[in-house]
């Protein structure tokens, strides 16, 4: 960090970094500071952080302050009134709805995906490989193109404007990627372990819970977090399958809040911050789990 901020970037260096071998201490040849890389890294940080900073700073301004002060400056008199306004506008209910839909989708999705992944990895029937192919196909299809039949099914089942209407398709849409990641991890469980358990007379059902689940637990947690992110932030299903405030989830509440309080930008941005806060807490607690698992799932 220090080397980047203190040393000026040589004017000619970015165009053509010197090409010669270097003695290394550790890592794949990164002893010489990479100025161009560092510069790009800090630039991208600015791109990421400026909008976040703006949102947080603005959410702490009162409306008069918003119209008169410099938009990029912190407020002279920070206020939490905007947050109060958001909380008073049923934030707790939307939060609870989001939580119900997320847990209600992710837990069943994990359960059925785990069983399917186990069967696909350990089994060998034509039916199972066909099932796996179908799930892989599901990864390639923009499933959101199916919203109209889903809307029809949900209305015909009299589930329109209920939380279950959001949960059922969310489970289905989470399955392909969950099965793919879980089965990738399950293939790494040594076959010998299964064989020795089988010799001890274990059934597949028992092996699944007593061997496969503990061995793939990090992957299960990871897939759970990944799906939870998607469902928690989902917007399209709530938009087409619910309408009343009683069934509103957080992302949709941001949109309706924006419609109702369009003049009060600080309050709208306070709602954005509040809606993101729960995930930020999860990120702080379980960052490694989330990030390492995601990469393992995709680049294995």
């Amino acid at each position: 960090m220090a080397s980047i901020t203190q040393l000026p970037v040589p004017p000619s260096a970015p165009a053509r970094p010197a090409v010669r071998p270097r003695p290394r201490t550790k890592g794949p040849g990164r002893t010489r500071p990479n100025f161009l890389g560092g510069l790009g890294g800090w630039l991208w940080l600015a791109i990421i952080i400026v909008p976040v900073y703006y949102v947080v700073v603005t959410s702490l301004k009162n409306q008069a302050g918003f119209f008169t002060s410099n938009p990029m400056m912190p407020p002279s008199e920070p206020t939490l009134d905007n947050y109060k306004l958001v909380v008073e506008n049923d934030f707790a209910r939307y939060f609870a709805n989001s939580l119900i839909v997320t847990v209600g989708s992710v837990v069943p999705a994990l359960l059925v995906s785990f069983m399917a992944a186990y069967a696909i990895v350990r089994g060998r029937s034509r039916f199972l490989s066909w099932t796996n192919n179908l799930f892989l196909l599901g990864l390639a299809i923009p499933l959101h193109a199916t919203i109209i039949p889903i809307y029809w099914m949900i209305t015909r089942a009299h589930l329109y404007d209920t939380l279950l209407a959001l949960i059922l398709p969310s489970i289905a849409f989470a399955i392909p990627i969950s099965v793919l990641i879980l089965s990738n991890f399950m293939r790494d469980v040594p076959n010998e372990l299964f064989e020795s358990m089988r010799l001890d007379g274990c059934s597949d059902w028992a092996m699944m819970w007593r061997l496969a689940l503990p061995m793939t637990r990090p992957a299960v947690v990871t897939v759970g977090i990944y799906n939870a992110l998607g469902v928690w932030n989902g917007f399209l299903f709530p938009l087409i399958l619910t309408q009343s405030p009683e069934t509103r989830v957080l992302p949709l509440s941001l949109w309706t809040f924006q419609g109702e309080f369009s003049v009060n930008i600080p309050a709208v941005l306070a709602a954005v911050v509040l809606a993101t806060l729960p995930l930020l807490v999860v990120y702080v607690i379980a960052r490694r789990q989330l990030l390492s698992g995601l990469t393992a799932g995709f680049s294995k």
Partner: protein
């Protein structure tokens, strides 16, 4: 994943029952595959979303295929796909390489890079709507007239604004994928290259890039197919406007179905969406040769 261990396993044991995959399959069939067939069926009907569904031959298709807005939506989608890809792919790859290296400051930057992953599209769109306001946003804050434009009201600029916001939201995810891919490259390859006197740039082009082949295919597939799903972000950010400037295909489908109440035409658009998604996925697989999922599938 060797076929020999697979075949010896086959000889030894029966494998789990296919029933374990049944719940996942049932969910997926009910809420993904049946709607997929349903969208094709509904494209041959006329339906306003509430009343009776009437078989209506090819009239929805005639409407959709003769409507200039459809062609425009396809063009907008193609443009957003193209520009998103050529902006996101190199940035994600470079950031992935950047964050995969061991330095402490890079790890610290990476923690912040991934913050956009936590935000819902609705939150991102609302934040950028405020940030891009010419009077109370970034341009006014920094006192730079060039940044104080009617970003979202100018039909020449708005497409690139949308591409930028999409990149802001999705580059972190692809960075994560590349970071994982880079970390799996054996350090011995770099060591050997250094002994041969290869510099950083040569190592990047001769080792990193070829070794990332499968990661590039995975990330690119997700990027291109994913750009058919940029619905919520654009919906909240611009609503498809000004005029039809950012009305991309999924948004056009939603507005046709749920705002203009022409579910038949919307279903026809949905079919087009699925067809494009499938064609792109197959094309990318073909271009990149067999990907790992396919080869794992065959080995299993």
């Amino acid at each position: 994943m060797s076929t020999t261990s697979g075949s010896s396993r086959r000889a030894l044991q029966p494998g789990p029952s296919g029933w374990l995959a049944a719940p996942a399959l049932a969910f997926f069939l009910l809420f993904a595959i049946i709607p997929l067939i349903g969208v094709l069926f509904l494209s041959f009907t006329s339906w306003d979303g509430l009343g009776e569904i009437k078989l209506d031959g090819l009239s929805s298709w005639t409407t959709v295929l003769t409507d200039p807005v459809t062609g425009n939506a396809l063009l907008v989608t193609a443009k957003i796909m193209f520009f998103s890809f050529i902006i996101q792919a190199p940035i994600s790859l470079l950031l992935g390489v950047f964050t995969a290296a061991g330095q402490k400051y890079r790890a610290a930057l990476a923690v912040l890079y991934f913050v956009p992953l936590l935000l819902s599209s609705a939150a991102v769109a609302i934040a950028f709507k405020a940030l891009l306001d010419p009077n109370f946003g970034l341009g006014a804050g920094l006192g730079l007239p060039i940044l104080a434009q009617e970003w979202l009201g100018n039909s020449d600029l708005v497409l690139f604004v949308v591409v930028f916001v999409i990149a802001w939201q999705f580059v972190p995810f692809h960075t994560l994928i590349y970071q994982g891919g880079v970390r799996q490259i054996p350090a011995s390859l770099y060591e050997a290259a250094q002994i041969d006197g290869a510099g950083r740039v040569q190592q990047f082009f001769n080792i990193t890039l070829p070794q990332l082949k499968y990661t590039i295919i995975t990330s690119s597939t997700l990027m291109v197919v994913g750009s058919l799903a940029y619905f919520d972000l654009v919906f909240v950010l611009t609503g498809g406007g000004p005029g039809y400037a950012t009305r991309l295909l999924p948004l056009h489908m939603y507005l046709t179905g749920f705002k203009a109440n022409d579910m038949g035409a919307a279903s026809a658009l949905g079919v087009i969406l699925v067809a494009i998604g499938l064609a792109l996925a197959l094309l990318l697989q073909r271009l990149g040769g067999k990907n790992r999922n396919a080869s794992q599938l065959e080995g299993a």
